[in-house]
């Protein structure tokens, strides 16, 4: 059982770690003091989930790596996060949209994992469902206000949709290991969440008076370790401490 479960948990953990790291980059840079607390706070929620997932993965790892080694000791191609996570923060609206896309997906993913046959996953799901509902509220309310705000904020949101939406389809892709986990009843079918995700995003966009785009070509590759050019920069900063002081504990 352990190989495909290990790989699938790692995919999920990498999503949370990389997006959580991106959120942490806002610390000290957010547009208001309130958001400067909120954004890293959302990031900490995601890092909390990643920590749990890496510890499960560590127990299943044939190479017996620790959770820290899994998080900070792999090479770029070994990270299996969706490309959406590593997209740079750009501006505040861009970050909020990215967060809304991911949180809306994860809420459904966790809801469908509450009865996972793998107990550890079910436990993380029941904890995360509550956290993620707030993430959706926070990012959704901002998307609505920025979309239906000033001319400038609206233009920035349109630009963010144009840039980010082509990266959303990868969330619904089923890798080989996740298909096996679905058959075993460990993890839900991502592809079945697509239509419900679209409905939810559409309804927020409608309130934000933003158009729901038609995308002719979706980007993917993160699940195979084929990342965008920003991933290497992200990793070099994220891994700095463990690379400079291997095994360092805090």
């Amino acid at each position: 059982m352990s190989d495909h479960l290990f790989s699938s948990i790692l995919e999920l953990a990498d999503d949370h770690l990389i997006l959580g790291h991106r959120l942490s980059e806002w610390c000290g840079h957010a547009p208001t003091l309130e958001e400067d607390l909120s954004l890293p706070n959302l990031g900490l929620d995601l890092l909390g989930v990643a920590t749990s997932l890496y510890s499960f993965a560590s127990k299943l790892d044939s190479k017996c790596r620790s959770d820290d080694q899994l998080a900070f000791g792999r090479l770029e191609r070994e990270y299996k996060s969706c490309l959406l996570m590593e997209k740079p923060n750009e501006h505040f609206g861009y970050t909020m949209l990215k967060q809304l896309y991911f949180s809306t997906f994860m809420e459904m993913f966790w809801e469908n994992s509450l009865h996972s046959k793998y107990e550890d996953i079910a436990a993380v799901a029941s904890k995360s469902v509550k956290e993620i509902a707030y993430h959706i509220r926070h990012s959704g309310e901002w998307v609505i206000r920025l979309g239906d705000g000033t001319k400038e904020s609206r233009n920035k949101m349109l630009e963010a949709i144009y840039e980010l939406h082509p990266y959303t389809d990868e969330l619904f892709h089923m890798s080989k290991c996740s298909k096996q986990c679905l058959r075993d009843g460990y993890l839900p079918d991502r592809s079945k969440l697509r239509s419900s995700w679209i409905t939810r995003i559409e309804s927020i966009f409608e309130e934000a008076t933003l158009p729901f785009p038609t995308i002719s070509y979706f980007h993917a590759g993160g699940r195979d370790g084929i990342h965008t050019e920003s991933m290497g920069h992200l990793i070099s900063e994220m891994q700095y401490l463990q690379r400079a002081y291997p095994g360092q504990k805090w």
Binding site: E34, E35, L37, S38, N41, Y134, R137, H138, R145
Partner: protein, 94 residues
């Protein structure tokens, strides 16, 4: 920023049976965003089970003169202070 966003006062109830207590203030454009910001700013470490946000300009405050007059007024009414009898040990914390 300050020109466009309202100032809100934040009150947090730490547990059932206690009243909401003022904890600080935040900037937000409307009540929903104010609640979100208040949650993130003041209840990140399990500080509360309920939050109130109130636009600061809606609060009527006393002036320092009002207060000193009120205090002076009570100085000669020592019978208002329950200090003339011993509290039984069984009562515990008073």
């Amino acid at each position: 920023m300050e020109k466009e966003t309202l100032l809100w006062e934040v009150f947090v109830r730490s547990k059932n049976g206690l009243s909401h207590k003022h904890v600080g203030s935040i900037h937000a454009s409307d009540k929903m965003m104010a609640l979100n910001s208040a949650r993130d700013t003041y209840t990140r470490r399990n500080e509360g089970i309920s939050i109130w946000v109130v636009p600061s300009h809606l609060i009527t405050a006393s002036t320092s003169n009002d207060i000193s007059d009120a205090l002076a007024n009570s100085e000669n009414k020592i019978y208002r202070h329950p200090s003339f009898y011993d509290i039984p040990d069984d009562v515990g914390h008073m």
